[in-house]
Symmetry: C3
């Protein structure tokens, strides 16, 4: 019945146009009706699920954990074993984490006097006058002592500074030292909650087999609920080679998308993972390449004197974002969208009047008819 | 006058339907008008405050600070005193913070050779062939030396590795070591700013009594502007027992909601706190329980050799979210909503025409009348 | 032609009103039409770019790096040199970072017995009964030993505690110790990506001159693509004096806004920087002033005994937010907005009918004419 009624919308006004001896506009009106109807049914209701009320205020919690070890051997540090507690910064399983893939250690720095790094422009000098005593080197590593240190009289030297010595040496990475970081695995635990529907779910398989998470790897078909990824797998999915990124570092975004149709039930609400590299711009000739920073470890010797190891670490930062929305049938939106549809038809009819008035020669006769005055 | 005018909307078209000898549709039209009117006044204007322009782009800053001490006594670490600088990770008063409630220390780890942990599947072996020299144990702690260490010939052994030794022992927490973490207090400083209205406020009482924040505790009625909470209070409000969460850890969300009606003045804009546990899913049979991670402290002995303490810490992560919107009367939205109301009435009238055309036997006569042609 | 058609909208119905012998309403209707037209063209299309489809789901990545050194000289710590690796917390170039501008070090703390700080209310005592043995001092630093330490018999003393001794002394900062933090520079690397248009860009100049970033400073006109700022510049732009903020600390928001009209091409999409102080509320009499926290460095002496340095650091937290939206011409929104405009005109006509019916004496004659019945 409601359907028949809906159909009857088509008769409305149409014959008016016919009467008005203008088939074309009749057809136009039909077309408008059809397009409106198509829009309402096809787009609003089927595609956009206009019959559902939705909740986009997703509450989410992300916990990450990395596994894997890497062994490095450098002249400065000797043999070293890197575990997650070392190469994940910060270590506390946040949604944003940095994985060290390359580093330069400057061990046994002590407070004292030494030459500023030649990389620091403001630290270059020709004579002592360029190194004003007590002045701090702009973007440098310490306080000028007033002396200019140079190999020979006619070379460009660099000011002597008071700071943590020796200063970090020049370093252009040749390749990642933690080469096998590619095989590290990241375990992404994600819990979501839709307040409006009191619906909560996690991206981890609900099983009692404790060893499941020790063996499984994510696979879209086989293991959609095993959120454990090889880092190399992630970068490849993002369209980049891990080794290339590992040398200078970079930034990768992991987007977890929950699009839940609660009318279809609990099991049909499952996460989809997207991977994109975040630190790229269309034109590749950029000087803003890579991602690195410095951190320190402080020690004291037997006399209580401080010394430290300065680490310049290169690596990949992973940022995990969670988007999501849930929908469930509700009367209110259905009604509103239906009404909006009707109103749209009204607009259609209105439009046709316009066309009638404007387009056709017989406009006048129609005008007469439409606005005939009481005689 | 505007009101009278509004009322007059009711006369419009009604008599047409009467004229058209169809009371039922007249009634239907009245109903539609009433419902539309009710919708506009009741819903749009009263409930949704359609007369206000709103600002949802809230700018917020959260600063947190914990207080409280806990004393632990374990075989590995001996007696230890934990202050906020130790159990809050990261310590810098972020909106996301982790509070240690349980831990396992593995002190005095040195780089060297020892047996891989039996928990690591890939580290188990029957003979040396299972431990390929120089291969890294998947999800393990080091580099295989090639030897398989086993208690007796017919037991399952584990490969010898080069790494930080001794490796962490098996650990199933029995109960939280920082039991009185329940009594720690968290001070949540929140500042908000609504750019559109240049309105700013904080959730802390504006007083000159410096000792206020040292004595007060949050209470919805007595101290709504004392943002200091007992951790145990928070978990209980979230519906969980602190001690249960403390053993394996978990994740709690603290939502601060600012819903400000600026027409009602400064004092009526006050924060509301909501507490929810974030790491739960409807079905409780999950293997993704708890929240823990590892961090280290590095030391050097007199010979400059490195050794370290490895901490596996369990705890509760608190995530503080700030939502908010402010509204103030403005002409534009009022006008728009009013116009929308009128349009809706138009749609109502349109709908009635439909009904007339379809429902009633006398449809034809009505058609004639409605679309009579110029003779 | 489309334009002529659009114009013809004006004729519609107007003459009806004229016919109905009511110029006033004719004029009213004209006004409504004009305002609607003005609204559609001026507001919807020109100002709000209603002809564009927009993407507001901006994906962004922020990397920060500070440069600058400061030298401090205090009785506790002696001479110390602070580099970014020390005064930036956390050091890993996040979008939220804390810069130390002032600090108090309590070096060589050992686990032992000492007097609780007099700042802790719960630690004050008149006699030993006030210090219940084994009880933890609320908001204090340790475990009560049961003794009350006091200078002389009739003064107020403080309980002896077991904890990290000596406890931190009272500290009201006189001025920032890292005074020249004002001259530190922050380099904000921001990459954005609009998924819908696959458009990506960065806020760093695309050049091959590697030294550019070492020399340039941000300048709205000269160097809009040099995202390197003096901290003092930022606070001033936010409306505050750096030295004032530096003493007790504070919180500053840096908003990067990308409003990209892709119809105008790649180069017209450039970032705009806004700076606001986040931790202020309209009334300045607040006790929630400043921003500080404590962190520690742990050491072990030759006997393996632990001792530590406790740092109470004051500073400024910078929070970098990225907003943005991009728009590009698209048929769909253009059509929808155009249709909406027509519908609005319909509503206008409807409104005029209302007015006709209500306002004028001649209402009845009009009624007759409008709803004349088939004779």
């Amino acid at each position: 019945m409601a359907w028949n009624f809906f159909l009857s919308l088509f008769d409305y006004k149409t014959e008016k146009y016919v009467v008005a001896k203008n088939k074309r506009v009749g057809v136009l009106y039909r077309l408008i009706q059809l397009s409106v109807l198509g829009y309402i049914i096809g787009w609003v209701f089927v595609s956009k699920k206009g019959y559902q009320e939705t909740d986009e205020a997703i509450q989410s919690s992300v916990i990450t954990k990395l596994k894997g070890v890497s062994v490095t051997n450098t002249t400065e540090s000797g043999v070293d074993v890197w575990g997650p507690e070392d190469y994940v910064i910060p270590p506390q399983g946040e949604a944003v984490l940095f994985v060290v893939t390359n580093f330069l250690e400057t061990p046994n720095q002590k407070l004292g006097y030494c030459a500023e790094s030649p990389k620091v422009l403001d630290g270059l000098c020709n004579n002592n006058d360029d190194c004003e005593k007590g002045k701090i080197v702009v973007a440098g590593n310490g306080l000028m002592s007033g002396r200019c240190l140079k190999k020979d009289s006619n070379s460009i030297g660099s000011c002597e500074i008071y700071g943590w010595c020796p200063v970090e040496r020049k370093f252009k990475p040749q390749g990642p030292l933690l080469a096998n970081a590619e095989n590290f695995t990241i375990y992404i635990k994600n819990f979501i909650f839709f307040p409006k529907f009191a619906f909560s779910k996690s991206n981890v398989l609900e099983t009692n087999d404790d060893t499941y998470l020790k063996k499984c790897r994510y696979d879209k078909e086989l293991h959609p609920y095993c959120p454990i990824f090889r880092l190399g797998h992630i970068t490849r999915r993002a369209g980049y080679n891990f080794q290339d990124m590992a040398t200078f570092g970079g930034s990768i975004g992991i987007l977890i998308e929950w699009d839940c149709d609660l009318d279809k039930g609990y099991s049909n609400c499952s996460p989809v993972y997207h991977f994109t590299r975040l630190d790229t711009s269309v034109s590749n000739k950029t000087i803003a390449l890579g991602f690195n920073f410095r951190h320190t470890r402080y020690f004291r010797n037997t006399d209580g004197e401080r010394y430290r190891s300065l680490f310049k670490v290169y690596g990949i930062r992973f940022t995990i974002l969670v988007h999501g929305k849930a929908g469930r049938f509700s009367v209110v939106p259905t009604a509103i969208n239906f009404a909006a549809g009707l109103a749209l038809m009204g607009a259609g009819a209105f439009l046709c009047d316009m066309v009638l008035l404007y387009l056709m020669k017989k406009g006048n006769s129609y005008r007469q008819w439409k606005f005939e005055v009481p005689r």
